[in-house]
């Protein structure tokens, strides 16, 4: 299917943040290699949104299919963050779960999940929540079968709610500066706990706390990308080759890694305090750093790279 104009756009220049899910997939995969499952022509649309008088999408906000990446077969799922905030509905979730289950059969070199989600679609909340649980179990099975599951995060909606938990289940994560990974969104925290706890309009605070740079520095993500499809492609190729196994040793290591993080940074109020303790000399300058300068900073932080995921 002819997607958005992605095919004609240079992936070097195509902004991941700006691109649609279809553009990301088309430009990420080897040219012309993407083959979609349940494409829009099948019109698998939400049976529930009409009850709420809401418009539906032909793909329910997620594109799934197969492609090659540097010649190697991969399965890809890409959430469309602009449709209902990329949230998990029944069909949306079913497509992702189906793709992961298919991986057990097809044994691709990797499954790539292009996250762009606010979490559960409230109009289909129970289905979305359950689909997230199913997705996490399916990821674990795919990983246990030796197939890396790589998450790529840099879209408008970020990776929130259950999406954040799914991301935490993946073998590896690549994130851009714009990407956010978190469970509770800033507005949710503010609504429930007050602006003193979290001022959601302070965007710099949002990104310091949940953004790509913080996650990368603390080891919450394994690669940092400039905001181009090309950079994500290169990051994905790099991560596929060094995915940790899913076993007791890995989870014991993750337990130690996370316990250590809380012991060392549990009393920090702000991300800049964390970064200072990580050995970043001038933590206030981190948000303004360009990709190269930030990569150089990451290279000096021991905690950023690990196999404990």
């Amino acid at each position: 299917m002819a997607g958005d104009r992605a095919a004609s756009i240079d992936p070097d220049a195509l902004s991941w943040y700006e691109a649609t899910a279809r553009q990301r997939v088309a430009a990420l995969a080897d040219p012309g290699s993407f083959q979609e499952f349940l494409p829009p022509t099948e019109r698998r649309m939400s049976p529930h949104l009409p009850l709420f008088d809401l418009p539906r999408a032909f793909d329910d906000g997620i594109v799934v299919g197969r492609a090659t990446l540097d010649g190697g077969p991969v399965l890809i799922a890409a959430q469309e963050g602009r449709f209902m905030g990329g949230a998990f509905g029944e069909i949306h979730g079913g497509k992702l779960v189906g793709l992961l289950r298919a991986a057990l059969d097809l044994k691709p070199k990797a499954v790539l999940i292009l996250f762009d989600t606010g979490g559960v679609r409230l109009q289909e909340a129970n289905a979305g929540e359950t689909a997230i649980a199913e997705t996490m179990r399916a990821i674990v099975e795919v990983r246990a079968a030796g197939i890396p599951v790589i998450g790529l995060i840099g879209g408008r909606a970020g990776c929130y709610g259950g999406g954040g938990l799914i991301a935490g289940t993946c073998s590896r994560l690549a994130v851009s500066e714009s990407g956010r990974i978190s469970v509770s969104g800033p507005e949710v925290i503010e609504t429930n706990k007050g602006a003193e706890e979290f001022d959601s309009r302070d965007r710099a605070l949002v990104w310091r706390t949940m953004g790509g740079k913080h996650r990368r520095l603390t080891g919450g993500a394994d690669a940092f990308c400039a905001d181009t499809v090309f950079a994500f492609r290169r990051a994905a190729l790099g991560l596929i080759g060094r995915a940790p196994a899913f076993d007791l040793a890995t989870l014991e290591a993750e337990q130690a890694r996370l316990e250590d993080r809380i012991a060392r940074f549990g009393d920090c109020r702000d991300a800049t305090d964390v970064w200072r303790r990580l050995g970043v000399n001038d933590p206030e300058t981190v948000p303004a750093m360009d990709t190269d300068a930030f990569e150089a900073t990451v290279a000096r932080v021991r905690e950023a790279d690990h196999d404990a995921r």
Binding site: A13, Y17, S178, D202, R203, A204, W207, A288
Partner: protein, 548 residues
């Protein structure tokens, strides 16, 4: 014997009363209410400095906390009604009458209070008009102003957001009025003297820095293909054709898109140096790429913009800056420059009728005008020629002796045919008329009158109203760019095609523009972060615009 010094004596008495709460000129923030209650008299004309951007908010809180038994029936004469306190004083009876220019965020409440009779309205002015009346019949008895810092003698540093302050002080201090300044900080020596101390009677060290609203920051990430298409047409069909060098831009996304297309699309058309070199403009962050690529020669500013101070400080060849290095803005001068020294005003509006009258008033809001009608009008007092001005004059002049022809300022309305929530921009009748009837305004709040408008640009095309020869042609020219609105669908198709053949209406394809080429890839910056990169890290955007 005629008393010639009564006002002066009254002023001296007010100041003497105020001194009891001051140490020299300095008044602690906690004594603001006490001070105001002794220097104000019932019925005073008061300017509570509410500019387009900066707000004397500490003094506003003080005024609204005064005892209405002591202070009442004030006549507020201020350009901006921005803070809730600006209207609270009318609810308590502290103030009664109002003359103002702009009420953006309080537009809905002001309409309600006008309707309810809580406010006795003088008029809704343009900026220059209100400033002018400060010197004729609306001279303040007391001015409550805002600055960044002051010394103990009252010398005032207004910082980059000087805005209205010199005008307000000039009118008040030299006509027996009392001037009270709130400042963020009292210092031994101010960085530069924007207002000399002998014009300032009291200085209040505010409890927190005065509030400044980032009004002119447009996030490139929100720009649409339609806005880009409109911007392309404006550049190619108006800027290039008339050779517009001196200009003023409105604050909408459409003009911001033009700013971002100059270094890309404009460059491709070979227009650098030929258009858009000299500006009357707030320091729009979206102008940064054009400045950095050498398009812009100089910019004079009405006010500043949050986050732009460091950038401006490092670009003194472009901006007006003081000996201290920071921006010097001045609303009165810049409005005058926009009116007389610019060949074009281009900006957006919410409604345009069949004749080309436009208004930003909707049924429930009285937002005021600010400066748009000053700049968006043809100044009949202009006496200097320019190519653009003369060309427009030739297009518009249909009768009379060519030797007596004068030029025309271009006043361009840049609109999308539908606004938010599918509200049509083109209408048979302006909501402003209904509002005027409802709240009893003598003058309907029209922002730009039809006889000043020269061009309307929508995504459907450009209508050149200068070339229209009668009212019917004008109506069809407007309908011809009104898209799928009811007004647009009501067009006489044959007449519109005839107007198109005569170049009165021009479609994108008539200009050699392919609508499908209107792509965000054309924007010199696609995000606020890109603007920061363009500025070499000098632009420091407000937190709410960040996504990093």
């Amino acid at each position: 014997m005629t008393e010639w010094r009564g006002e002066r004596q009254a002023r001296d008495a007010r100041i003497a009363a105020g001194r009891t709460f001051a140490e020299g000129k300095v008044v602690p923030a906690g004594a603001v209410v006490d001070l105001l209650e002794v220097i104000l008299r019932p019925g005073d004309r008061v300017c509570l400095e509410g500019d387009n951007q900066k707000q004397a908010d500490c003094l506003a809180r003080g005024l609204s906390a005064c005892d209405p038994a002591k202070i009442h029936d004030l006549h507020m004469v201020q350009s901006g009604i921005v803070l809730p306190e600006h209207l609270d004083v009318f609810e308590t009876g502290i103030a009664k009458r109002l003359d103002y220019s702009y009420s953006g965020p309080q537009g809905a409440r002001i309409a309600k209070m006008l309707y309810g009779g809580q406010i006795e309205l003088g008029a809704v002015h343009t900026y220059l008009e209100l400033f002018a009346r400060y010197f004729i019949d609306l001279t303040p008895n007391v001015a409550l102003i805002a600055g960044v810092s002051a010394d103990r003698n009252g010398n005032l540093y207004t910082g980059p957001n000087t805005e209205d302050t010199p005008t307000v002080v000039e009118a008040t201090a030299f006509k027996n009025g009392v001037v009270v300044a709130q400042v963020n900080q009292i210092v031994d020596r101010v960085p530069r003297v924007d207002i000399p101390g002998d014009r300032v009677d009291f200085v209040v060290e505010a409890d927190k820095p005065f509030y400044v609203e980032p009004l002119f920051t447009r996030d490139p990430a929100a720009m649409t293909e339609t806005q880009i298409l409109i911007a392309m047409m404006a550049i190619k069909g108006i800027y290039a054709e008339y050779g517009i060098r001196r200009l003023n831009h409105g604050i909408g996304f459409g003009t911001a898109a033009i700013e971002l297309l100059l270094p890309t699309y404009g460059e491709k058309l070979g227009l650098k140096g030929k258009i858009a070199t000299h500006w009357a403009l707030n320091p729009h962050p979206t102008l940064i790429p054009a400045i950095e690529s050498g398009w812009v020669k100089q910019v004079h500013c009405f006010g500043s913009e949050v986050g732009m101070d460091r950038y401006i400080r490092e670009r003194p060849d472009i901006f007006f800056t003081g000996a201290d290095g920071s921006l010097r803005s001045n609303r009165a001068f810049c409005q005058t420059a926009g009116l007389y020294a610019c060949d074009m005003f281009i900006g957006a509006t919410l409604q345009i009728d069949l004749m080309g009258h436009s208004s930003t008033v909707t049924q429930s809001r009285v937002a005021g005008f600010g400066g748009a009608p000053n700049m968006g009008s043809d100044p009949h007092g202009r006496r200097h020629p320019s190519d653009a001005w003369m060309k427009a004059g030739r297009e518009g002049q249909i009768v009379g002796d060519p030797a007596l022809m004068r030029g025309r300022k271009l006043v361009v309305q840049l609109v999308e045919t539908f606004g938010d929530k599918l509200v049509p921009t083109f209408v048979e009748k302006l909501d402003a008329l209904e509002l005027a009837r409802k709240i009893g305004l003598e003058l309907a709040p029209v922002m730009i009158y039809a006889d000043d408008v020269t061009h309307i640009v929508s995504e459907e095309g450009i209508a050149n109203l200068l070339l229209c020869r009668d009212a019917d042609e004008r109506e069809q020219a407007i309908r011809g760019v009104a898209g799928y609105t009811e007004v647009g669908r009501g067009r006489d198709r044959a007449k519109v095609e005839e107007l198109r053949a005569r170049g009165i209406i021009r479609r994108p394809e008539d200009l050699g523009i392919e609508p499908l080429d209107a792509d965000r890839a054309l924007l010199a910056a696609k995000s606020i972060k890109d603007l920061v990169h363009w500025s070499g890290g000098l632009y420091e955007p407000p937190a709410k615009f960040r996504n990093w």
